[in-house]
Structures are given as C-alpha cells and as structure tokens.
C-alpha cells in the first residue's frame, strides 16, 4: 500500500502517517482492517502490531499481512512491556472505550509517543444539532443515540486536560475535516481531533516546576 492509496481510503490516516518516523515500532489500538499498519509497513518500513476485538476485522488484517492480536484494548495492553513501542496509535477508537483514563495511562506506559484521534463533539454541526435539541448525527458521529458504540463524547479542550493528567504532553493538536487540517477555529470547524503526544518526562518537566 502506498501513500496515494491510503489517502484515497482514509485521508485522516494519511495526514497522521506523516507524524510517524520510518522504521518505528508501532502499536495500533483498535486497528480495524489494518490499513494503517499495512501502509506503515510497506511504505515506511515500520514494524508492530494491531489490537482489535472485532471478529470481522481479524481476517482482513491477516490478509494484509498485518500482525493483529484479537483482544479487548485493555487486556491486550496488559500483554505488553513498558516502553516497548516508539509510537502508540489510538485512532477513532478512544471514544468507544469504557476506561479511557486507564487506557491512556497504559498508552503512556508502553509507548514513547502516542497519536490519539477522536470525533470532536464540539464540531459546529454537532453544536447546531444540540441547539436544535437533538443529539448530533454526522459523518464523524454516524449513529443514533440509542445504537452508538461511542461511550465518550469529548472536545479538543476536554482531551488536553486529561492527557496532561495521565502524564502525556501535547506536542501537536490538529483538527481535521475530511483529512484536511483546520487552522481557524479548530474546536468549531474540525470534525476529528488529532493529538500528537509524548510521554511526560517527570524528572525534567515536573521537578523544576515544584522547585
């Protein structure tokens, strides 16, 4: 899989792929059909694993030659040793998780850097829907309130606070719409929030602040 193919399939992933260094060891949480790892392997010589719970997706990953572990993200992470990945990806999956804070702490444990994306609940069509008195249904939140797998609704501002609390520093935050970064009013105009995070070095960052 080359960049053009990835861009055609998933413009959001194509944007995010720029942030991943060649030859990185990557963990993709909720890797779906494995398209991202397939691309990172074939175009950027990355290694790594996907973790995915959905039966339907496992053969798709295997068919791509992507190493996939069928586990719930939480128990899947418990199998991994500290600091064993250059980058941990959690793309459009966090909003479906019950224990978000715990997963983020685990991401910080097993990875040096992380990239997390989730639908921005503060995207303006969502705000408009709420003003009209209805739960938002959009391309990025395509479910009705009663059948959505999304347990968590967060905005760009919300997430940054939690990331800091679990020991992740925000290196970059970008709001994407159709895979294109939104510069102006991102928390209004961006449908997908994307955070590039780095494990907080407790000694160099928090210790001097206390002194």
């Amino acid at each position: 899989m080359n960049f053009t193919q990835l861009q055609g399939l998933r413009p959001d992933l194509a944007f995010i792929a720029h942030w991943i260094a060649p030859s990185s060891h990557v963990l993709d949480l909720g890797c779906g059909d494995g398209v991202m790892l397939d691309y990172l392997h074939s175009d950027k010589q990355c290694s790594g694993y996907g973790i995915e719970i959905d039966d339907e997706q496992i053969p798709k990953c295997v068919a791509r030659g992507v190493s996939v572990i069928q586990q719930d993200v939480q128990s899947g992470l418990a199998m991994l040793t500290d600091g064993s990945f250059d980058t941990v990806l959690c793309l459009s999956a966090l909003q479906m998780m019950k224990h978000v804070e715990e997963v983020l702490r685990e991401i910080a444990r097993v990875g040096r850097e992380a990239i997390v994306s989730f639908p921005n609940f503060a995207y303006w069509p969502h705000r408009v829907a709420l003003l009209r008195g209805r739960m938002p249904v959009s391309k990025s939140l395509p479910y009705q309130w009663y059948d959505t797998p999304n347990l968590r609704c967060a905005t760009i501002k919300d997430f940054e606070a939690l990331a800091n609390e679990v020991g992740l520093d925000v290196l970059e935050c970008v709001a994407l719409t159709e895979g294109v970064p939104i510069g102006f009013l991102p928390n209004w105009r961006g449908s997908l929030a994307v955070f590039r995070l780095k494990k907080n070095d407790a000694l160099s960052l928090s210790a001097p602040a206390k002194a």
Partner: protein, 386 residues
C-alpha cells in the same frame, strides 16, 4: 464430504537410531505418512500438519469413497479450495512414534527382543516426535516448510518445530494449544492412565501376549478425556438432564443421555485405540514445557524462533483455555516476532478446533492466502531460472 477423494498412506523406514529426550533411543522404526498436493520445483510449498492425541497421518481425503467416516480428521481444513488449499500447498501428515496407526509403536516387535514392545516402548516426547518428523522431511527433500501447523497436542509440535528447527519453517500455526499443561490437565491425564494401569487386563502392558485388551481402562480414560474436550454449555445444550428412557431406573445403569453418550464414545475408542499408546501420548502431553530449561521463562524459550506465527484459541475451551494461548502470544510479542492471534468466541470447547466455525476458518484461510503469496514468487523465480 471430502474433496480430495481417495488417498492412501505411505511408510518410510529409518534404520539409524533416533536419540530420545529420555536418553534412550529407538532404531529400525517406521513412520506412516500421507501427502496431498504437489511439491513445487523450489520445494517451498510444503506444510506439515501435526496430529493430536487420537488422530493420525490421515489428515484429509477418504480411504473408501462410499464411507464418509473414512475421511481424514481435518478434512474440513485441508483439501482443494479449503483453508489449507492442497491445490497450492504440498501437505504432509505424519503418524507419530508410539502411536497405534501404523508408525512404530508398543504393539510392534522390539528388534532387540523379538517381542512386542508393550510397556517397554520408550517414553517419547513432543520434541522426539518433531525430530522424527524432521528426518522424514529430510527424506522427502523438504529443507524448509512453508508452515508447520497443529491443534492441541499438534500445536505443541508446531511450537517445538519453531524452537528446535527455527530455519526449517517460515510460519507456525498453533491452534487451541498451550506451552505447558496445568496441574489440572495433568490430573485428568493421570486419572486416565490409572484407569488403564489398574485394569487387570493390562497385564503390565503385555496384554498382546494374553490376547486381550484393557477395554475398561481405555473406556474410562476416553470418557474422562472426552469430558475435557466439551464445554459445560455445549454439554448442557446437547444433553442437559435428558433421560434415555424418560424415567429414573433406580439402578446403576444408564439413566441420562450424557451417560449413554460417554459410554458409547468409550466403547468405540476401546475398539481401535491402544492402551500403551494412550499412556505414552498423555505422558508426552504432561512433559511438554519448552520454558522449563529457561527457568520457566517462555519468552527466553522462544527467543531463538524465526518463524511468523498464527495462534487461535476458543473462549469456551477449558482444557487449553485462551489464557494459555495468550501466554505464548505475550512471549512472542516480547521477542518482537510477527504474530497474529484470533480468540474465537465459540461454544464448543476444546473440540472447536476441529469444527467449522466460519470466523476461525476465515482467519486460517486468510493466513494461508498470505503464505501462498510469499511462496508463489519463489516458485515463479525458480521456473524462470530453470
């Protein structure tokens, strides 16, 4: 229905003694095997399928076209167009030493005494079997298997291949297996062995000379084993508390359908299986523990592997539960091996690995499609070179 059609077994004699883990050795032995499909010119498309406790080299195909019961034990997995496609791969099934399906076993003559081995047949391990399989591969001209695959005890053999002969397989497929038996597993095996050993017809293993068979021991051994292959839910679903004759008999005969079923399974098994073989194979299961010589650290034990791995387990398998497969996966992750793992939510317990769950079959099919894609260019290159 089988799609391979009629197949026939072959045998290979080995005169050179095979050193065994116990320190003993075995000489002048024969291995029964079957092959399906065609070995390509590059000899790169061979897949070894290892068998579990009561199976054999007869993996797929039929012995008698009018008898569907003569189909191989993994006929749903192996054949033309099946997940392990014999139009693409050259599949080899080997009957292990000590078995009772044709390879040298306890009922055969010991060349040193001229009498049947009986209980004196050397205790063989999973590693010994793998060494014997490797010798057969040498004779067949297979330097490296595209994959070595097995379920349950067969999965242990596949795993042992990856550590003993890391350069001789590119892929290792381990289904419903474990890197070691639990105390509970060993306990069940010992109940089975005790049933056989205490049967008066066992005659210290020399029952052949007495023209008898420790049938009762074998029956109980099989009944115990069979319970561990099924899940509680599956048994409840199939049998529940159904009574065979609709009312209690107030005796010690058969009241419940489950009793009738287990006794039938036990009777059938005791007709064809050898008691000494049962003892040997359950010991091989108990002894398997590749991490043992690494202080119990499985990731160290698997550090020398080079293959890519596919593991699968079944949620209701309490004999070799998903936790056992996850331990192997975790050890492989530590070593940064390429590994995929499918945990299939199937109701059929340990037996699920022989059944047709589409999620399971799809994963194995997708995996072999991938193995084939890697294998094919080699073959094409070879043809171009020739």
């Amino acid at each position: 229905m089988s799609s391979l059609g009629i197949v026939s077994p072959q045998s290979m004699h080995f005169a050179t003694p095979l050193p065994l883990q116990s320190g003993a050795s075995i000489r002048d032995y024969t291995l029964m095997y079957e092959t399906y499909g065609t070995l390509n010119a590059a000899r790169s498309n061979a897949v070894l399928v290892c068998h579990a406790l009561n199976a054999s080299h007869h993996v797929a195909g039929l012995y008698d076209e009018n008898d569907p019961k003569s189909a191989g034990w993994w006929d749903n997995m192996v054949g033309p167009g099946k997940p392990l496609d014999t139009d693409r791969f050259f599949v080899v099934g080997v009957n292990n030493l000590g078995s009772c399906f044709g390879s040298t076993g306890p009922m055969h003559l010991n060349p040193d005494t001229g009498k049947p081995y009986g209980a004196s047949f050397p205790v063989v391990t999973v590693e010994d079997w793998v060494d014997a399989q490797a010798r057969l591969a040498d004779v067949l001209g297979i330097v490296q298997f595209a994959a070595v695959m097995g379920g349950s005890l067969g999965g242990m053999q596949a795993l042992a291949w990856s550590t003993r002969y890391p350069d001789r397989l590119r892929h290792c497929v381990v289904v419903a297996s474990t890197a070691k038996l639990s105390a509970q597993n060993i306990a069940f095996n010992d109940v089975a062995r005790q049933a056989i050993l205490t049967d008066p017809e066992y005659h210290g293993g020399d029952f052949y000379a007495h023209a008898t068979v420790p049938r009762n021991g074998l029956r109980v051994a099989r009944m115990v084993g069979h319970i561990t292959y099924l899940s509680d839910d599956d048994m409840a679903e199939k049998f529940g508390r159904e009574l065979r004759d609709g009312k209690y008999q107030f005796g010690f005969g058969i009241d419940f359908e489950i009793e009738s079923y287990l006794r039938y399974q036990g009777d059938k098994f005791s007709e064809y299986f050898d008691a000494n073989t049962y003892l040997l194979i359950t010991k091989a299961l108990d002894y398997f523990d590749p991490a043992r010589e690494f202080g119990g650290d499985l990731s160290l034990a698997l550090a020398g592997t080079k293959a890519q791995f596919l593991l699968a387990s079944f949620t209701t398998d309490w004999r070799f539960s998903p936790e056992r497969s996850r331990e192997i996966v975790q050890a492989l992750l530590k070593n940064r091996r390429q590994v995929s793992y499918a945990e299939i939510d199937a109701p059929h317990g340990h037996d699920a690995f022989l059944l047709d769950d589409p999620r399971y079959m799809n994963v194995v099919r997708a995996y072999y499609d991938r193995v084939w894609l890697e294998t094919k260019p080699q073959e094409t290159r070879q043809q171009v070179a020739a």
